[in-house]
Every structure is written in C-alpha cells, then in structure tokens.
Amino acid sequence: MAFLTDRKRAVGMGSAREGTNRHWSMTVTSMALLVLTPLFVLTFGAALGGTQAEVAAHFARPYPALVTGLTLLVAAVHFKNGVRMMIEDYVHGFAREFWIIAMTCLSYALAATGVFAILKMAL
C-alpha cells in the first residue's frame, strides 16, 4: 500500500472507481431507449384496455413482443445504473451497499418477469 501513490490510484478511475464504463453504458442504453421508447409507448398503448385474450394475441405477434421485451431489458439495465448513481450520491456505508444490491436484484427480477410474460404469450 505504501508504494502505491495517490496519483496511481486515481488515474483512469474517477470517483466511481471504474473509470467511464458506466457512463458509456448509460450512453449506449439511452441511445437505444431513444428509439425504443416511442415504439414501446405506441405498441403497449395499443394493447392497454383490451381483454386478456386480446392482450395475449397482441403480444403473440413478433413486433409488439420484440419491442416490449427489448424495451424492458434495456430499460432495466439503464435503471439499474441510474438508481445506483443516485444511491452513491445520497447513501453511505453499509446502507449504500445494501441498496445497490437490492435495486440491482429488483431491476433484473422485473426484466426477467416481463420477458417471461412476453415469451409465454408469444410462444
């Protein structure tokens, strides 16, 4: 530890300890969501208000299933990183680790549940 200079520890890491990886991930997912969000709103809005049979038939078609599934997946990754950024700003110590883990698990759980539902209706 004594031989590791402060500069060496800081180079390329930034306050997030992992350089610009997460910023880049946010850039990629936000560009994807820029396209997916309007498509999702239109196709999801078309299904909303229908009976269960109508909704299941809607998501059995390739386009609504793919757009909805992709949006849920990409949005979950984007949310996971965004909520982590917020936690790291306001929460400290053990609570920070707890909430990062909890929200990461929740993000993936929601994405998996949504994609499972889409697959069940589509296949």
């Binding site: 820029l34 809005g45 009976t51 499972f116 069940k120």
Partner: protein, 127 residues
C-alpha cells in the same frame, strides 16, 4: 494519506446555499422522473405477467391499472418517460460539447419541460 484527508477536507458549498436555477432544477427533475419510473415499470410488468397467466388474474391486475390510481400512475409515468427522454437527450447533446452556454442550457431545460407536456398530450391523443 488520501484516506486521512477525506474526513477532514472541507466541502465546497452546494445545494444548500445556491438559489434554485433553471439548469439545476431541470437536471434534478431528470433524476426524479427516471427513478420514479420504477413504479410504472413494476405495474407494466405485473400487468404483462397477469395477461400471460389467466383471465382471472388479468382481471385483478387490469382492474388496478384501470382504476383512478392506476390511471394516475400511467399519466405520471407517461410524462416522466417523455421528460426523462428529453432530459437525457439534453445530456447526450452536452456530451458532444454542444449547447453548454448558460442561455442554451436553460433553453434546453425549458424545451424538455414544454416538450414533455406536449408529448404527453400527444400520447393521450394518439394512443
């Protein structure tokens, strides 16, 4: 050495001493809208799972979504979705090193606020 300094070094003045600015408020709203979308996200996933399960379960989830509270969540989520999208677009523009002058940044902030209301209204007209 850096570890020792961390607890002692003074914090520069931030949130508590600044008058609210258009740029900071519109930025904070991006964070709030993005994180609040968890509620709408969870409701959408629940509704999809119910639709994939059975007509009985769908009636429960759809009943919630169609209730005034569910509709309120949808309205809020649609607005949050558009505001967060436009606010995020602002960050993508800034990342390119463009529109960083104060007047330009404030214009983008107003564009996001007005744009999100317009897009929300448009969503309700079209969908």
């Amino acid at each position: 050495m850096a570890e020792d300094m961390r607890s002692k070094r003074p914090l520069s003045p931030h949130l508590t001493i600044y008058r609210p600015q258009m740029t900071s408020m519109s930025s904070i709203l991006v964070r709030i809208s993005g994180n609040a979308l968890l509620v709408g996200f969870a409701m959408v996933v629940w509704w999809l799972l119910a639709a994939a399960s059975s007509a009985d379960y769908f009636a429960v989830a759809d009943g919630f979504v169609q209730s005034w509270f569910g509709q309120f969540i949808i309205l809020g989520s649609v607005w949050a979705l558009w505001y967060h999208l436009l606010g995020g677009l602002r960050h993508l523009i800034w990342d390119q090193g463009k529109m960083l002058e104060i007047e330009q940044a404030e214009k983008l902030g107003w564009a996001a606020i007005v744009g999100s209301v317009v897009l929300t209204a448009l969503t309700y007209v079209i969908v």
